[in-house]
């Protein structure tokens, strides 16, 4: 009896927490369809904020900046992180403490310290050499920096999970290292490559602080645009953009669920 009551209490607490987790997102979605521009009262259903989005050039450029930044930085991080992950695996018998510290540094460093160091560095570098003006390039560099560790750790743990004799077998089968990479290594770590790419992509789209401090006037991403709009005073359009971003996340969640089901 007592146990059952506790069980019921836990179930209730679980659903309460779910409401807590989704309430702020639900409010944003709800108000994106609001007919009036009130942030407190729903007056009717309308799609006018979505129509306004399409006509807003700043938002469209912020959208494309977000995508370009996420794709390019993830691809660069994938190549570099993959190499480092393999290097860590192959040479795991050596003392690689310095490398581990280096790889954990971007993860441990508080976002804000990360962001302002990059900003201070890029601003001074630009003043001295005229290169690397704050903009998409500097943002890509900064994003790659925080993506590398995650890619490296995912790839490394995939290699560790493999049977070491596979590497011997591959050595016997394929003479050249290039063939070994193409026919053995890349296919075996494909799932890790895919998840590393998606993690990097999500980290990039999700990031605000580091982007904010490394961006230039022309390279605002969606989070930066939203931030600016909030600071200027709440505009109902924000709800519409935010809803689109939330939908993208929901879609990703469904995909990851399907992916997990298929593997199970």
């Amino acid at each position: 009896m007592n146990k059952r009551a506790m069980r019921r209490g836990l179930t209730g607490f679980w659903w309460l927490t779910v409401v807590f987790l989704y309430l702020p997102l639900a409010v944003v979605v709800l108000f994106s369809f609001n007919a009036s521009n009130s942030a407190a009262r729903i007056t009717g259903f309308s799609l006018r904020w979505y129509h306004q989005l399409l006509g807003n050039e700043q938002i469209m450029s912020a959208f494309s900046n977000t995508l370009i930044l996420a794709v390019i930085s993830s691809l660069i991080a994938l190549v570099i992180g993959c190499m480092i992950g393999y290097g860590m695996y192959r040479h795991r018998h050596r003392k690689l403490g310095w490398l581990i510290i280096l790889i954990y540094l971007p993860i441990v460093l508080p976002d804000i310290v990360f962001g302002i160091s990059e900003m201070a560095f890029f601003v001074q570098f630009h003043r001295l050499t005229g290169m690397l003006q704050p903009g998409l390039t500097t943002m890509i560099i900064a994003h790659v920096t925080f993506q590398i560790p995650f890619v490296a750790l995912i790839i490394y743990s995939r290699f560790v999970g493999l049977d070491p004799s596979l590497f011997e077998a591959a050595k016997d089968l394929y003479a050249s290292p290039v063939k070994r990479v193409v026919h053995f290594m890349l296919p075996t770590i494909k799932p890790a490559l895919i998840s590393a790419f998606f993690l990097s992509f999500t980290l990039s789209v999700d990031d605000f602080v580091i982007s904010f401090f490394t961006s230039g006037p022309e390279s605002a991403t969606l989070p930066i645009y939203i931030w600016g709009a909030i600071k200027k005073g709440i505009s109902p359009e924000i709800n519409a953009i935010a809803t689109l971003m939330i939908s993208a996340v929901a879609l990703a969640a469904v995909f990851s669920l399907m992916f997990n089901r298929r593997r199970a």
């Binding site: 702020p24 997102l25 190499m83 192959r90 441990v108 310290v113 201070a120 999700d206 939203i226 990851s256």
Partner: protein, 307 residues
């Protein structure tokens, strides 16, 4: 003789090849991080010891001026503003972490007791909100807590806040926002700990007539400790350096150290002061990490603590 010689040559060639392999695979990434993170951080540290120039850019005479400013000494004598900001950061971090532990503990336990096929879905449900950009999530809370909303009305009715003020901006909104933001980071490691919980110990405790509280304290809690400590590291350290949530939900009186630092680089234009703040933040972060490690080792969590 010649045989062992060729062997030695072969082995040294192999060693050279291995070293070259290590160099080839590791150099691009290591160089990237050194060039674009270590170097900028070192530069930032140096900035803290420079003087503030007319345009907020650091200038050459080295000084400890920025640290004095950080401690509160300005043109108008000493003011406690920055000290308050530091204390507020520590207090908010503590509150948010405690809140997250209180919520995450039963949730993680509950998930671990549900049916196998539901667990991945439940974990996903906990994690998915954190995939949304943190600016959007803070914006959602702004909408919920603004004056005139049902939640604010309810708080007014209970007499918790003066009329027409709303729950945001306030320190309370910051605590709530932080707890919301970091809840998944506590649930996941705790769940991992609960999942491999050795229930035999709990049964043994019950067989020996331990009260539920004693059974929990001696049989369950020590087993979940590594997960708990990992969660505290994952929550408290980023919470301490948080910028977005205090800036959006806190208003002028809810700012934390991250905001103090950021302002010096955007509006305030005092790079050395900002850099000094960043150093303070790093010191606090590393003290926190170190303390967690020590606690983990002493209480027997030992090797399993992630960092």
């Amino acid at each position: 003789m010649s045989n062992s010689n060729t062997l030695a040559v072969g082995r040294s060639q192999a060693m050279v090849r291995e070293a070259r392999h290590l160099l080839f695979t590791v150099t691009p990434g290591a160089a990237w991080i050194v060039l674009f993170l270590v170097l900028p951080s070192v530069y930032l540290m140096a900035v803290a010891f420079m003087t503030n120039g007319p345009y907020g850019l650091p200038q050459m005479p080295l000084s400890l001026e920025s640290f004095k400013q950080l401690a509160g000494f300005g043109f108008l004598g000493w003011s406690p503003g920055n000290i308050y900001t530091l204390l507020r950061s520590l207090w908010q971090t503590f509150l948010a972490t405690a809140l997250v532990v209180i919520v995450a503990y039963p949730i993680a336990y509950y998930i671990s007791t549900c049916r196998d096929k539901w667990r991945p879905l439940m974990l996903l449900a906990v994690v998915v909100p954190s995939w949304t950009n943190q600016v959007i999530r803070a914006f959602g809370w702004m909408n919920l807590l603004a004056p005139g909303t049902p939640l604010s009305g309810f708080a007014e009715m209970l007499g918790m806040i003066p009329p027409n003020m709303g729950l945001y901006p306030s320190n309370f909104a910051v605590t709530l926002g932080l707890a919301y933001n970091f809840l998944p980071f506590m649930v996941l490691p705790l769940y991992a700990a609960f999942e491999k919980l050795d229930t035999a110990q709990v049964e043994a405790a019950q067989d020996l007539y331990a009260s539920p509280i004693k059974a929990f304290w001696h049989a369950v809690f020590p087993q979940t400790l590594p997960g708990l400590l990992a969660g505290v590291v994952l929550v408290a350290i980023p919470a301490f350096g948080m910028y977005v949530i205090p800036e959006l939900l806190g208003g002028g009186k809810g700012l934390m150290l991250g905001n103090l630092v950021a302002t010096q680089f955007s509006g305030g234009s005092n790079w050395p002061l900002g850099a000094a703040g960043a150093i303070l933040m790093l010191i606090a972060t590393f003290i926190g990490l170190f303390a967690m490690r020590r606690i983990g080792k002493r209480l027997g969590g030992g090797e399993e603590v992630v960092i």
